[in-house]
């Protein structure tokens, strides 16, 4: 425990030190302010832009798109995973597909999706779903695999209905793995949607960053960037801690 605390302290010190170093380099002109602005100014710019309300529409747009993609990916991925798990033959076919799915940069489909669905929310949602669903499928498969066969036998002996078997037996055993998939799905949906907005879109935070870059507005660019990164890190961090708790509860129970 003390070792973990020490690692945490050193980690915070390293991060704080690098931010301070960046601040000093920027203040003393070692780094050109046209390239990177000092971190303190990034924070004030972020607060200014959030306070002025000009980002509100982008924020709502981006996060509703991410949420929609995330929920769709979880629903589709879990259902597809359960379906594939039920048939050995289907699984033999799909396994190699899933194994090589993430080697394909899904993002290159985005221009085709824009041409197909028009510029707007739809191609972004589809892109998010395309990049997040397979992670959920993979984790559903491995979660269902991890249910001990003896528990399934127990369910049969107790004559549990399928719904009760799912609730009492399958979900508790499969949950930690499923949760890993949900965590990945969130970060993939986030990356996919923001990347799509950044490259080709008319709204959203990704677009706001690329617009600020193209109009040489460094202050706005760094402020928005910091906001997006902070939100991403917070969301992933919450899921990470939650996942650790689930895993530990599993070990104890």
């Amino acid at each position: 425990m003390t070792r973990r605390c020490a690692a945490l302290l050193v980690r915070i010190a390293v991060l704080a030190g690098s931010i301070a170093l960046l601040e000093i380099c920027c203040r003393f002109g070692i780094i050109d302010p046209l390239t990177v602005i000092p971190p303190s100014e990034m924070v004030t710019s972020m607060i200014d832009h959030l306070g002025s309300g000009e980002l509100n529409e982008s924020i709502v747009n981006t996060f509703s798109t991410i949420l929609l993609a995330f929920v769709l990916a979880i629903v589709c991925g879990t259902l597809a995973g359960a379906l594939i798990h039920s048939s050995r033959r289907l699984r033999d076919v799909v396994d190699p597909l899933l194994a090589s799915y993430y080697s394909v940069p899904t993002f290159i489909f985005y221009p085709l999706l824009v041409a197909l669905l028009g510029l707007g929310k739809a191609p972004l949602v589809v892109l998010g779903v395309l990049s997040a669903t397979p992670a959920v499928m993979i984790s559903t498969l491995s979660g269902l695999d991890s249910v001990p066969p003896v528990l399934m036998k127990l369910a049969r002996v107790q004559r549990l209905s399928p719904a009760r078997a799912l609730w009492w037996i399958i979900l508790p055993s499969a949950l930690p793995r499923l949760f890993t998939g949900f965590k990945l799905a969130l970060s993939y949906a986030l990356i996919g949607v923001i990347a799509g907005e950044f490259i080709l879109s008319g709204t959203g935070l990704g677009y706001a960053i690329s617009f600020a870059y193209q109009s040489f507005d460094n202050r706005a660019m760094y402020g928005t960037m910091l906001f997006v990164l902070l939100v991403a890190i917070t969301a992933n961090g919450i899921l990470y801690v939650w996942e650790g708790r689930l895993a530990r509860r599993r070990l104890r129970g």
Partner: protein
């Protein structure tokens, strides 16, 4: 032995393999049919159907222009992948051996792995300028972390007896890495290489899709901007095929062999 009934007999290995090959062919045909359906449904304004795309592709690979762009992507990608692999391997070995440094670094790296790195691309452009080096740097940003994390995990899970052996034999740090750590972690390292390969390819392609003048990513975006549907579909096809081929090759290499 008495309860052995014939319906329990497993199909032989050869027939199972035949079923599997049959299913794989059905799957490929289904995917082609889907592609064709999307193509004809949109009447070729968004996606061109398989056959016209392939004929267009055969014409395209005979042009000088295609190879010029492909070479630009390939050069940037090769450099990005090589840098990610080498630096990632070195960092992973160091963080794996120095436990405390590894404990400090791992959450930072894992956090960096999950953030949307596209948002940082403008910074890369400001630092490196438009052109090849920005693409390479962006590719390395994507590919470096998975390589480091995989190597780190592999070294950490090594049986301690191996490291003790190295100490007893008084191997120098360099030799310990070369003779003990790398061979023992090889399957994990190949896995890391596989992930790093696809992510640095993604990084380079995204870099090319945003304010760039050369490369396959640029060609894809410009094909879309000029409503040249066969061009963009053909580029996507090429990238998908190359990525899957490379991944399959590395999966084969990484599979632990029976000794």
């Amino acid at each position: 032995m008495s309860d052995l009934s014939f319906d329990n007999v497993q199909p032989s290995l050869a027939s199972r393999r035949r079923i599997r090959a049959f299913d794989a062919i059905v799957l490929i045909l289904l995917m082609l049919a889907l592609w064709q359906a999307v193509g004809s449904w949109t009447q070729g304004v968004a996606v061109s159907p398989p056959w016209p795309t392939l004929t267009y592709l055969f014409g395209l690979v005979r042009t000088w222009m295609f190879w010029d762009h492909a070479a630009a992507t390939l050069a940037a990608f090769a450099l990005a992948f090589a840098l990610s692999a080498l630096i990632g391997l070195a960092l992973g070995l160091i963080f794996g051996v120095r436990r405390f440094a590894g404990e400090v670094a791992e959450p930072i790296l894992a956090g960096f792995y999950t953030i949307p790195k596209v948002t940082l691309y403008p910074v890369v452009l400001l630092l490196f300028g438009l052109g090849m080096s920005a693409k390479v740097a962006f590719g390395v940003m994507h590919g470096l972390v998975p390589m480091t994390l995989f190597t780190l995990g592999a070294v950490r899970n090594l049986p301690p007896v191996l490291i003790r052996t190295a100490k007893v034999l008084r191997l120098s740090p360099g030799r310990t890495m070369l003779w003990i750590l790398v061979p023992a972690c090889l399957p994990e390292i190949v896995n890391g290489l596989r992930i790093s390969f696809s992510l640095s390819l993604l990084g380079v392609l995204i870099g090319e899709m945003f304010s760039s003048q050369r490369g396959l990513g640029f060609l894809l975006v410009s094909g879309m901007a000029q409503h040249n549907v066969p061009l963009s579909t053909a580029i996507v096809t090429v990238i998908v095929l190359v990525a899957i081929a490379a991944n399959t090759l590395m999966l084969r290499l990484g599979r632990p062999r029976a000794r």
